[in-house]
């Protein structure tokens, strides 16, 4: 564990030097300020306008949809930026000239890999906390409405990134580069996962073979889109609606990716 912690510290140091934290902090601060402006200028006015109408029964009826809107807009951007920022982390230690030094140290390859992986997740977690606690705080202060369920986005997004980071790591080790990993991760997150999440709406119209392929893919590919959809549903209905299958199959994907990365890395020549 001590060795993993050393590699995590090294990863955080790299994130500071490469200005990953600074870039995230600037973007997050802009998002928080933007949220403040929107809340101050529009949402409050909108509330006043419809205050007398029967459509909105309580303040939560305004805030929760607004928070969902924020999540939909900011979370996707946050994940994509995180993938971009983390894509080169593994390369720093495995590029020619650096790998020799790292691998000659009394640290096992698994510790090296896990330190890098967890370091990446920690960087993203810190930034997600800053961003969403900031947004949540602005809304809370403005409306004196403290919707703690909104903060569930922090573990959900961190979990989503942890899954995608395992894919990034796998291709990073396999190809000795960051491009394939980044493209695959974006493909899964932006295209494949949302398409598979909506399978019920189109699968009936497909042939038997394609239906089977889609079903198999559905259980293999991590369900990042559904994780977010489930959180949205939870925020709206204020009750647990997370399908355990989504979490379990996504976790399995993450473990398979990490296991595969370890298998490849343990026997790879540098």
């Amino acid at each position: 564990m001590k060795n993993i912690w050393i590699i995590i510290l090294f990863t955080l140091r790299e994130a500071i030097s490469r200005k990953i934290f600074l870039a995230f902090a600037i973007i997050s601060t802009l998002a928080i300020l933007g949220n403040y402006v929107v809340v101050t200028l529009f949402v409050r006015d909108l509330m006043r306008t419809v205050a007398g109408s029967e459509q909105y029964a309580s303040i939560a009826d305004f805030i929760v949809p607004y928070q969902l809107g924020v999540i939909s807009t900011v979370a996707g951007l946050g994940i994509m930026l995180s993938i971009f920022a983390a894509s080169s982390l593994i390369q720093t230690i495995l590029e020619k000239g650096a790998a020799d030094i790292f691998l000659s140290k009394p640290i096992s390859r698994i510790e090296l890999l896990m330190g890098r992986y967890l370091g990446g997740v920690l960087i993203v977690f810190i930034n997600i906390v800053y961003l969403f606690v900031g947004i949540w705080g602005v809304i809370g202060l403005k409306f004196d409405y403290w919707n703690f369920e909104f903060l569930y986005i922090i573990p959900v997004l961190t979990f989503m990134f942890a899954i995608l980071n395992s894919l990034l790591l796998f291709f990073g080790v396999l190809t000795n580069g960051s491009v394939v990993g980044m493209m695959s991760t974006y493909f899964v997150y932006i295209i494949l996962s949302p398409i598979l999440a909506a399978k019920d709406s189109y699968i009936e119209a497909m042939s038997g073979t394609w239906q089977n392929i889609i079903e198999v893919l559905y259980y293999i590919i991590p369900k990042t889109a559904e994780l977010q959809n489930n959180l949205n549903a939870y925020l709206i209905f204020e009750k647990g609606s997370v399908n355990p299958q989504i979490v379990i199959t996504s976790l399995m994907f993450m473990f398979v990716m990490l296991g595969g990365t370890i298998l490849v890395f343990r026997k790879k020549d540098y």
């Binding site: 050393i6 790299e14 720093t92 000239g97 140290k105």
Partner: protein
């Protein structure tokens, strides 16, 4: 017991296609004794770096075994007592010199106050104290080598692998590194040195091995390998031919090479002693004499050429 024992190591790089196979190491065996400076020589691509990488677990052998320290020591445990300076190493360029030593020192098991002390000590040892707070991205090649050496030595290792340690270092720095290697040897450390600079290897190593195309072609003590069979240089206070005539030179297998300077080829050292006695008896003062040696470079070139001829046949 040798500190390092390599048995029949073979490494084949595949490249995915059998016909593209490259045999970087071919049934390579070697033993290195504790407390010595060992030099591994070979042309580019001879397999020197591959060998070190296998010994450190950076690359894996296709066949063969090796043992570092004793048979009960795992490679992970052995690495606690091994220092390594790779060729063309690259430190993360966002770190300062101090931070490089801090992180790699931590990875080598150091922490707290002892790590801080070691960082200062190592920077001083390689004459880099004033550059400790500067990011390594602005370091010259020579400075990177010095820092690399500090990184390799920070945890006081017993066995030190140095791959081209003087690469890019100026002549004064080279001498300092040579002196450092001798100092480390005096402290009982074992040093495994890979270098193209044969004259430098000759100056510091006790034992060398020469490899070609992954094979060991010669191994031995540096003095024994470079010794020329019974040829001596001798400097006198007079010219012998003037004193005794030209025939004296022929009769005693002497050849004049410069004013009052001769070489003598003898069957054995007793013959040389007889000549010395004869000269001394004649009142000739011997100002200097030494046994002629081959340079390591001569030996290396001749052995590699022989090996290449053998392959082409």
């Amino acid at each position: 017991m040798p500190i390092l024992e390599i048995n029949n190591l073979t490494k084949i790089y595949n490249g995915g296609v059998k016909k593209n196979e490259i045999k970087a190491l071919d049934d390579f065996s070697l033993k290195i004794e504790e407390g010595t400076i060992f030099g591994l020589l070979g042309q580019n691509g001879a397999g020197k770096t591959t060998l070190i990488k296998i010994l450190l677990g950076i690359t894996f052998p296709t066949k063969g075994t090796f043992r570092i320290f004793d048979s009960n020591t795992s490679l992970e445990e052995a690495k606690m007592k091994i220092g390594y300076l790779p060729e063309n190493h690259k430190f993360p360029n966002f770190l300062t010199g101090n931070e490089v030593l801090k992180y790699f020192g931590m990875m080598s098991g150091l922490s707290g106050k002892s790590l801080e002390l070691k960082i200062s000590e190592m920077l001083e040892l390689v004459d880099m104290t004033k550059w400790g707070k500067t990011k390594v991205k602005v370091y010259s090649k020579g400075m990177m080598q010095r820092l690399g050496l500090a990184q390799a030595l920070i945890h006081d290792p017993q066995l030190i692998f140095l791959d081209e340690p003087t690469d890019g270092v100026d002549p004064i720095g080279r001498k300092e590194i040579r002196n450092l290697l001798i100092l480390l040897k005096e402290k009982g450390k074992t040093i495994f040195l890979n270098s193209h600079l044969l004259s430098e290897v000759e100056l510091v190593t006790d034992h060398i091995a020469i490899m070609n195309r992954g094979k060991l072609i010669k191994e031995g003590n540096v003095l024994e390998l470079t010794k020329k069979e019974e040829v001596y240089n001798i400097i006198l206070d007079v010219n012998l031919e003037e004193l005794f005539g030209e025939h004296y030179l022929t009769n005693n297998s002497l050849s004049k090479v410069a004013d009052r300077t001769y070489t003598i080829r003898v069957q054995d050292s007793s013959e040389f002693n007889l000549l010395i006695d004869k000269l001394r008896a004649s009142g000739v003062t011997i100002k200097e004499f030494s046994q002629q040696k081959n340079s390591l470079e001569d030996i290396f070139i001749s052995l590699v050429n022989e090996a290449e001829k053998g392959i082409s046949k």
